[in-house]
Every structure is written in C-alpha cells, then in structure tokens.
C-alpha cells in the first residue's frame, strides 16, 4: 500500500545541506500498526511529514520516491487529491484545533454535518459536547477530536505523530486503545511516530528504529523488545527506566548525534558504537533480514 523506496531527503539551510533522511526503505500493508521510533534528530518526523506531503519548500528529495498504491507521490506540499487517503494526527492536540470554532463545525468541515455525531461517538466523546470549543475540553479530549478529524476523511493510512506526548499515562492508554480498535475495525493502517519505546512495543505490530536519518532496525515488536540486534536499538532499550532494577543499571548511549550538515560516515552510528570496526566505514550497511521479518542495518550486529 505504502512503499517508501530508497528515500533520501536534504534540507537546504543557512548552515549548509542537512541530510535529514538517508535511503529509507519502508513498506506498510493495510491493517498493520507500525511504530516509527527514534530520538530527536532521528528523522522520524521528517519521514512522517514526507509521507503526508507536509514538508516545506526547503526540502529536496535527493533520491528515491514514495509510492502509494503503486503511484509515485511527491513529498512537498501539493494538492491533496492523491493523498485523501492519508490522514495525520499531531503532537499538541490543542494546537491542531481551531480555537474559535466549535468542534462540531470543525468536524463538519471535514466529514459533513451528518457524520459529526457518529464520529464523536466513535472516539467516545458524548455528541452533546459538539457545541463546545477546544478550550473547554481537556488535553485527552482534544486529542480524541483530532483523531475524529483524521478519521472523518476515511483514511487508509493514519499517521499518528507523537499523539500522546504530554498526556497523562492513563489518558495515553485510553487514546492508544482507541487508535488500535479503530485500526482493527476499519482495516486502517497506522504509522505511530514516537520516542516512547514501551508505547510502541505494546501497541504496534512492527517497530522501525531510526537513528540520524537512517533506519537501523526493523522487527516485530516482541522480537525487538526481547532481542534487539542493532547496537543502538540495544542501548536505547537499556536506557529505558523500566528495563533497569536500579539507577546504576541504567545504560546510556555514548557520544552525541552526528551533525547532519557536516560530513557523515556511511554508518551514522559509527562514532558512538562500541562494535565499530574498519569495514563499517567502507560502505553503508545494508538492511538485511537476520531472522524472519527482522531486518538490521549493521555489519556487526549483536548475536
């Protein structure tokens, strides 16, 4: 359904050319929930915006393409005709709603007046609240309205960009369950972009881990949680508090993210990697399947 092939995107900025994405390969089939996990600077947001066609004019596709149902689509802002089937929900729920319009009006804009009540019910908001304004709703409720707005387009692919950051953990659980249920019921695929590994592990079928614009590992959620093979994925998991018994057990990822505007080695994790060897600098590591459905981009993976 969605096929990102060898996509590389650069941004031209004052500091130079920022090589934000490097040869990304990603496929999403209908009905699956894919988690796109990475820290800030990993390129996960750039990738999600590229798929939605929301990148601004300073972005340049250096190579590769995005295919939707076999047709190539552009990544820069363009007419939405080809993209009616891709919807997005954003990180700050309040910021994505128009503060001076009632939620009923906003939903009607997207889905038509008749659908409003049905949409509100599907996100478990009492339709009677349709005449409220965003400021009268809690953060969790605003996010649910955001989801309703996205669903109003009857999308085939929902891109959820950090949908629960900043929300309480109990609200987060409710929102994620809602997204999962809707995915299953409508046969909708979801791309969950998040920096919260645990969240992805619980709610996604498959997780893609990114570092500095490159995909480093791609595996079913349980396999990644128990047996990560890329050194970065492994250290990332070890730095999650849940994973450790005491603070001394916490592991950190050494070094800093490389400067994406400067010269970059073929494997962008090389300078931070304890398993780095000479052959890592020769060419970019290919994404190979080391186990069923488990892909790793590393010449010296764990195990």
């Amino acid at each position: 359904m969605l096929d990102v092939r060898h996509l590389s995107i650069n941004f031209s900025t004052r500091r130079g050319t920022v090589k934000a994405l490097d040869r990304i390969d990603l496929q999403i089939v209908p009905g699956e929930i894919v988690g796109l996990v990475g820290e800030s600077g990993s390129g996960k947001s750039v990738l999600s915006y590229a798929i939605s066609g929301l990148l601004d004019s300073s972005a340049r596709v250096a190579s590769g393409e995005i295919c939707w149902h076999g047709n190539v689509i552009g990544t820069i802002r363009e007419r939405r005709a080809t993209r009616a089937a891709i919807a997005q929900i954003f990180q700050n729920p309040r910021a994505s709603l128009n503060p001076i319009m009632t939620i009923r009006r906003q939903l009607a804009d997207v889905a038509g007046e008749g659908q409003v009540s049905a949409l509100l019910e599907s996100v478990r908001i009492d339709p009677g609240r349709g005449n409220h304004y965003p400021f009268e709703l809690s953060g969790g409720q605003c996010q649910r309205v955001g989801i309703a707005l996205a669903l109003g387009c009857e999308p085939e692919l929902l891109i959820a960009d950090e949908p629960t950051t900043g929300l309480d953990v109990t609200t987060e659980a409710a929102i994620m369950t809602l997204i999962r249920d809707l995915s299953v019921r409508r046969g909708m695929a979801t791309l969950l972009v998040t920096h919260n590994l645990a969240l992805a592990a619980v709610h996604c079928d498959r997780i893609v881990v990114m570092h500095a614009g490159q995909i480093v590992e791609c595996a079913p959620a349980a396999r990644l949680a128990y047996t990560p093979m890329h050194p970065y994925a492994d250290q990332l998991l070890a730095s999650v508090p849940q994973h450790s018994a005491t603070a001394d057990d916490l592991r950190t990822v050494p070094g800093l993210l490389p400067d994406l505007a400067g010269p970059l080695p073929p494997c962008r994790f090389a300078s931070r990697c304890s398993r780095h060897q000479i052959d890592c600098d020769e060419a970019p590591p290919p994404l190979v399947a080391l186990a069923p459905a488990h892909f790793v981009a590393c010449r010296h993976p764990l195990c």
């Binding site: 699956e32 820290e39 800030s40 953060g139 309480d168 953990v169 109990t170 987060e172 659980a173 994620m176 920096h195 919260n196 590994l197 645990a198 969240l199 592990a201 619980v202 709610h203 996604c204 079928d205 498959r206 079913p220 959620a221 349980a222 396999r223 949680a225 128990y226 250290q235 990332l236 998991l237 730095s239 999650v240 508090p241 849940q242 994973h243 450790s244 005491t246 603070a247 001394d248 916490l250 592991r251 950190t252 990822v253 800093l256 069923p292 459905a293």
Partner: protein, 269 residues
C-alpha cells in the same frame, strides 16, 4: 530533616465564582537527611504546587513545613530569599526551554547563586567554583560560555543542576527534571543525579509523572491525585503491591516494554 504536616494550598475563586480551588490538601510526609522521596501524580494532582511550596516559591494556605527544626511555612516567599535556609533548599526546575535566563551565559547562570547565596565576591574564586561544579555535572568547560539557545536539552539540564548545587544545599527539589529529554539523555541525567546524591549527601524530593523514573531514583514514594495523597510508602512495596485503586490503575496504565502475551507480540504475516 524535613517534616510536612497537613500542608494545604488553595487558590481563591475569582470574581463571581465563589469556590476556592484546592490545589493541595492535607499532605503529610517526612524526609530524612540524605533520603529520597518521590512524588508521583498526573496533571492536576498538585505535585508541582507541593514542590513550590516546599521551595518557598508559593505561599502556604495552611499546614506546617519544618526544615531542620525550624518552621518555614510561615515565611513568605519574598522574605525567604534573605533567610539562611534559602541556600539549603534548592530547586531544579521542569526542563522546559525557559529555565535559564536567555541573555546570560551558562557560567553566569551558575555563578549567580554563588554570588547571591554564598556571598563570594572574588572573581577568581567564583570562576574556580563554577568550573568545579561543571566538572561534577560532567559539563564540558567550553560549554560554559554559551547561551541557553546554543545548548542541547541535556546540557541545559546539567547547567540547571550545577546551578542548584552551587550553594551546597542539603535538600534538592527536582520538578520533572527529565520530562522533556530523550530517553538516552534522560538516562544520563538520572545516573548523574543518582551519583550526586551520594557524593554530596543530598536529600531529594523528586517530582515526576513517570512512575518508573521515580522507582529508580527514590527509596520512598507518595502518589498524589487531585491534591491529596492517595498512597505512600517504600517504593518497592508500592510497586509490588499497590494498596489503592488509583495506585493500581496508574501502574497498570504504564506501557510495559516486555509486553504481556497476546497484546503486541504476535507476528503478523
């Protein structure tokens, strides 16, 4: 060292709305010298208000705060600035982008409490102290000349911690010090905080919405909801056997990395 009894804070209702809003209600706890107490709660639980009351940034409506045998709850925030206790209770703020004065360098930010609270005026001495503090928070010295907008989230967090340690405090109140940081940076800062606690003999009052972070950092925990304490006790006990409904709900809602069977682990073709 710190004993809090029946501490409450309510805000007067404004205008025609007569009801007062109780942000914090009747909180009791004790913190020993060198101990660590975590305060967990969701938004609106009152944990930040509690922290700011103990730091004496906010007035107390009722109740007592006894710090080293002195009742400090009656002292107003403006008066507290000049008290000797000010340098013993320090605060690390929630790491939004605005905890450091934008037009002061990192060095100036850390030097500020040295000048104001410790009273050192000799420039050389101040410089040496700032360098020593930067070393103890693993902040590279060449970063000290930078402005906040030139520093990364983790670096700003370290500057904030160095600033808090400058006056050699006994109690450090940490209000969500790692909430906005990436998980690997958070791990580094948490390890740093853990080390500093034993190195300097500090007591921590650690506020967080992330119960797992509190589990790692604190010996004891209180769980707050809507301004009240719902459960409190040793961390291990609360995690293994939460007594309150809310405590159980909170722990159950946290997404578990090693997922329960049947939830997400099955491979889809």
């Amino acid at each position: 060292m710190l004993s809090v009894s029946q501490l409450s804070k309510s805000y007067k209702g404004r205008g025609w709305r007569a009801n007062a809003v109780a942000a914090v209600e009747n909180v009791d706890f004790e913190l020993a010298k060198g101990g660590s107490l975590g305060v967990v709660g969701e938004s609106g639980s009152g944990k930040s208000t509690l922290a700011r009351m103990i730091s004496r940034l906010v007035d107390v409506t009722s109740g007592r705060i006894v710090f080293e045998d002195a009742d400090i709850s009656a002292i107003s925030p403006s008066a507290f600035v000049h008290r000797p206790e000010r340098r013993k209770i320090q605060h690390v703020f929630q790491d939004t982008g605005e905890n450091l004065t934008p037009h002061l360098t990192a060095r100036a930010a850390v030097a500020d409490p040295i000048r104001r609270l410790v009273g050192i005026t000799d420039e050389e001495e101040i410089r040496a102290k700032v360098d020593a503090l930067a070393a103890s928070v693993a902040l590279s010295p060449d970063l000290l000349g930078r402005y906040p907008h030139q520093l990364s989230g983790g670096q700003k967090a370290r500057v904030g911690i160095a600033r808090a340690l400058a006056s050699n405090p006994d109690l450090l109140i940490l209000d969500e010090p790692t909430a906005a940081l990436d998980v690997s940076v958070q791990a580094a800062i948490l390890k740093l905080l853990h080390r500093l606690r034993s190195e300097f003999g500090l007591a921590y009052l650690f506020i967080s919405h992330d119960i797992e972070v509190v589990r790692l950092m604190c010996d004891n925990v209180i769980i707050m909801r809507l301004g009240r304490v719902v459960e409190q006790g040793p961390t291990r006990q609360i995690f293994e056997n939460p007594q309150s409904d809310y405590g159980r709900t909170l722990l159950a809602a946290v997404p578990r990395l090693k997922a329960k069977a049947g939830v997400a682990g099955e491979v889809i073709a």
